[in-house]
Symmetry: C2
Subunit: 686 residues, 2 copies
């Protein structure tokens, strides 16, 4: 029955028996007619129509950009080269701090000298582990071409609890990826510009704020521009390794002028290093594996054949990361480099400074490294909100996580991630090292669950070659499980315990939320075979008033039309002052004829209680043989123009509303008084 | 038309032309019939009717006590003895710290020895000042028998700005009375029990919390029990002064074994003391005058003849306070007592310990002192919320400050006072000395404004003997003005500047609030001669739905009865999934016949924008020659049972409501779905 925008008059085309709104094919700036009683909103339909709305929309547009339609999401399919750059930033960027973590493990154990000897074998062991994990995930690419994150793999194969453990571990990991990558990026910057040493926390927070804002704008990581930092870093890092290795092998370069600590360390022997220290160093370096699963979760973004391209990219990534990691560790060992605290000098920065000298090349390399690390942080801003949205759709997270904002971004998830990551950075004083113990635990728990899920998958499907595939995943699962246990044990005091406590708490919270939604859904269930066409009960209208003013008059005139019967309409004035009430009554009877006014004296000065009880008394007085009417309480509301108006107006209405929401068979009708409606017209009169 | 509670059926007694609700005289547990269409709520009418309400009511009752009726407020008239105790606690309790403040002024200036010589003359000068101020206020008792606080005196005589300055100064003073008295009380306790030295802040906060809670319960300070601490303190303090003075005069007692500081101090001479130090000492001691105005503001509480009884009580109080202050200063000087910091030993505690020895008498005296100080803090809990309520009624404070809670207490004001005083105590680490500079400034500004108002009053009224009276008040005004300036100058850096900044800020805020209310009132004004009986415009009903469930069915059945015409009714389903929409349409047409369903596909996944724009489009399509209908948007709401439900449900409805409040000619009807309404009945069906 609605003529959409273009027309001047409604089209009276309703056939008897067809009560559906008939929408004519019509050009409209807001909607397209797409079927019987069906419209599709155009972009203009999202534009707010009020003045305030338009201003806030414009501000939002400036900050966040114009709204995007669903179709704009799909975007391009990624070539392998681009996909490598985009999906690997998280994994590859971990080479910026993994070597340093190994060295720190020895340094903190008081055997810094051992680092120069044992780092390389440990790095090789980790690279082997990386290979195994990569082989395991390679199979995920084929088995779950729609993107197999550990949540979906475990949901399909291991059941609800395992999948929620995986989800919790993933949420923690994504948050820590942001915190660790940002902190490390800022450390790289501060290593090049020592003046910034005292400003790491504010810079990290600023970076997180900008990345959060960018993602609220719906920042797409698919653009070519996101591939650039990865290749810039890879190019300059491999150049550094090549130059460094050449100088070590052929020129006998033993590193920069050693500090007293380094001299002391080099004179130590490695014989005194116990197994626990080795395990710790291994557990620290294992952080290099973070991000390995990213490609397996992003299979649908590849060009066809998606699984094969993804699998190949994954293997390429593993080879690059492994080489890079071993190369950097080789340079660090042979250059005898230890991390320096005051002012902060990361291991990779010291290597770069030694190789490139104090030239522009060094500063560029540090910039590329920081850029890659920020990019790695950004990947979590896609993964975390998406997982939260999936959890929201599955009922494990509040549903608003599944809403998209104007820019197709899951705004709630993005903001939550930004806030939590920011808090973590502040708590850890933007020190990468403080966060690594928490980081590694979640990653290996995830690996274990995903690989176990794959084992179960092969047992279930028994696809071609399942025995071989099962073996690979079983080895992966076993190995990552062992390492998860090792990492948790040796890093327990250093922070792993937080994760061990947090995961069950998160799982419990998610199960709780799901139980709430299940209960609500069961409660609201309507049998499919019922027909609802009985008229509604009678309607009583009660209008609490505070005198006669435009807002009250508007509410009364509206309420008048709602009552089933004039006898079911009344205004109620609660007062402590009966003289004032008499004056009001005189004016009321004259100006608002036909609307009975009941005065309730409230010696307790309370308002809410007497109104509610008065409604109760009205119901008690209803003949018991007739169904009691629905009570519509009409509340005049003064629309806030400024933020402070919320403190000055409508406080009484707010309290009344809160009490009425709990009352049976009661509807609350808010009649907002808007200046705009009335400023040009005189008040209505007879 | 309502039979109140007792009856079974309504009494059909409405005469034609008299549309007023006729309420029969009837016994009802909730209301009394008190006139034509007029009821008076009984206590039971305040009882909540929902389960949650009842539980929260019971918890509130346990914490805050049963609700009180207006009539219970009047309370007893106070005899002079009781009034002295009750109104003077603030003034008299300042003798617990005023002497110490004088000594500290010398001590901090590095001339501690001068304190032993100069404290007494300064105390005498302050006592003289007290006498003058008391004489000035004595006249306020006669001129303003309804209670003349400086706000009302200056409002009547000096205009809005002066009265708001007075109000601001008073609000600051009341807050500081709580903070200073509580801090001093805790210091007295810690002086007796040094183990509590590190716990002063938590104890002070606990005390403020308890006093706040007590006042939310509607604690009356009129009870005899509140007179006891004052007399206990007065008795034991005068006993201490008598014993001490006797020992000084007749036994040559020179105080406790002197500490090295005291020995050093006694060897100093007082010749080097400059005028600035003297002024500072005087300004510090002037804090003894705080609370002097209390009696003048409480005249109506006295037995008749009220003004005379109040005036006499005021003079008695001044004599007692003056004697006490000089007496304590005399003992402190002759016993050579300096405040001790670690562990805290107040001057009055050291005197008491020396006079009473380490006996039970000493501990009792400290207990009485602390009790009196807590009582002084409590007086502000009557004064502050009352002033805030008056300001609320005058439109200078948000109106909710004028609402009374169930226990006749101005809950908002009480909570604000508790929060701000608590924050001040935390900021000052519960140290009395840190707060004194702020305290004295406001008090003297108030004195000055009140006395100036009185000068104006005499000039205006020219009552009998006005010349003499004017002279007294003029002297009082001049003197307190000079001291206000002196106190502000010498204490500026120590904290007085905060008050100097805060007063104009508060005045500005109050003027701003008043301007808002004035503007709203003008905007809502209705001419007295208009009659409103025109029927309301047509009504269109739009029900945004998310599927078919009990909550939606309830909202639809309700909305159905609101539309002026079946063609003005429709449900709107916003979706991104047209298959889901088709399935819903099939079920909808079958189960909810007669209610057209419009499907809006939203490729932007937005919900609020398309709904608002759809309403806009409906209005555009309305024939321009007819007045557009009021749009009633019916929103199904799921009623929260737990606090976390607010996060899980109704998020969409909340966003929609926020957008609709700004839309012209739109009413928002909330149809809450309550489990209780439906659990026992099957869903309605044909």
């Amino acid at each position: 029955m609605a003529d959409l925008g273009g027309g001047r008059r409604p089209i009276a085309g309703r056939k008897p028996g067809d009560k559906r709104v008939r929408v004519e094919r019509h050009h409209s700036p807001y909607f397209r007619y797409t079927g019987r009683g069906q419209l599709t909103a155009k972009a203009a339909a999202n534009a707010p129509t009020t003045g305030i709305g338009r201003v806030s929309m414009r501000a939002k547009g400036f900050l966040l950009g114009r709204p995007l339609a669903n179709e704009e999401e799909a975007g391009e399919r990624l070539s392998k080269k681009k996909a490598l750059a985009i999906f690997s930033s998280d994994a590859i960027s971990s080479s910026a701090y993994a070597t340093e973590e190994i060295i720190l493990a020895f340094l903190l154990a008081g055997v810094a000298g051992a680092a120069f000897v044992l780092s390389i074998p440990i790095a090789i062991a980790i690279a082997v582990l990386l290979g195994i994990v990569a082989f395991s995930y390679r199979q995920v690419c084929y088995a779950y071409p729609n993107g197999g994150g550990s949540y979906s793999v475990s949901k399909a194969n291991l059941g609800r609890t395992a999948s929620l453990v995986a989800a919790s571990a993933l949420l923690i990991d994504y948050t820590l990826t942001v915190a660790v990558s940002t902190s490390s990026a800022v450390e790289q910057i501060a290593s090049a510009v020592p003046a910034l040493h005292d400003w790491t926390v504010p810079i990290a927070i600023l970076a997180i704020a900008l990345i959060t804002l960018g993602n609220l704008r719906g920042l797409r990581e698919a653009g070519t521009i996101f591939a650039i930092p990865t290749y810039l870093f890879l190019g300059s890092a491999f150049l550094m390794i090549a130059i460094g290795a050449f100088r070590i092998v052929f020129a006998g370069d033993t590193g920069p002028t050693p500090s007293p600590e380094v001299i002391r360390a080099t004179q130590e022997t490695a014989t005194s290093v116990g197994i626990l220290i080795l395990l710790r160093a291994f557990a620290s370096g294992a952080v290099a594996l973070t991000g390995t699963e990213a490609i397996a979760t992003g299979v649908p973004a590849f060009q066809p054949p998606e699984p094969r391209n993804a699998a190949r990219t994954l293997m390429t990534m593993a080879v690059i990361l492994g080489t890079l990691f071993i190369g950097i560790t080789f340079l660090a060992s042979n250059f005898h480099i230890l991390p320096v605290e005051e002012p902060k000098q990361t291991v990779i920065a010291q290597i770069a400074r030694h190789v490139y000298g104090d030239t522009i090349a060094f500063y560029l390399f540090q910039g590329f490294t920081a850029l890659l690390l920020f990019l790695a942080a950004n990947t979590s801003y896609n993964a975390f909100p998406r997982l939260a949205a999936v959890l929201g759709e599955d009922g494990f997270f509040p549903r608003q996580f599944a809403f998209r904002g104007d820019r197709l971004a899951f705004s709630t998830g993005i903001m939550l991630l930004g806030l939590v990551a920011g808090a973590v950075v502040v708590a850890a004083h933007a020190e990468t090292h403080a966060l690594i113990p928490l980081y590694a635990v979640g990653v290996f728990i995830d690996f274990t669950i995903a690989q176990s899920g794959m084992v179960r998958h092969w047992l279930r499907t028994r696809d071609q070659g399942w025995r071989r595939r099962l073996t690979i995943n079983a080895v992966g699962a076993l190995l990552t499980a062992v390492i998860a246990v090792v990492v948790t044990s040796v890093k327990f005091e250093a922070g792993a315990r937080f994760v061990v406590i947090l995961i069950p708490v998160l799982v419990g919270a998610m199960l709780f939320i799901r139980r709430q939604y299940d209960a609500q859904s069961a409660e609201l269930q309507v049998r499919d075979d019922l027909v609802f066409d009985r008229p509604h009960r009678e309607q009583r209208v009660v209008i609490p008033v505070n005198g006669i003013n435009r807002s009250v008059v508007q509410a009364v005139m509206f309420g008048k039309s709602l009552a089933s019967d004039p006898s079911l309409l009344q205004a109620v004035f609660v007062t402590t002052d009966l003289d004032e009430a008499e004056a009001l009554r005189e004016r009321w009877d004259r100006q608002l004829p036909g609307v009975p006014l009941v005065v309730v004296e409230s010696p307790f000065r309370a308002l809410v209680g007497p109104v509610i009880t008065y409604l109760e008394v009205l119901d008690l007085a209803w003949p018991p043989d007739r169904e009691a009417p629905t009570t519509i309480v009409v509340l005049p509301e003064y629309v806030a123009k400024h933020w402070w108006d919320r403190l000055l107006y409508n406080q009484t209405a707010k309290r009344l509303k809160a009490a009425l929401v709990g009352r049976e068979h009661t509807v609350i009708a808010d009649v907002p008084y808007r200046r705009s409606e009335h400023q040009d017209e005189p008040p209505p009169h007879a």
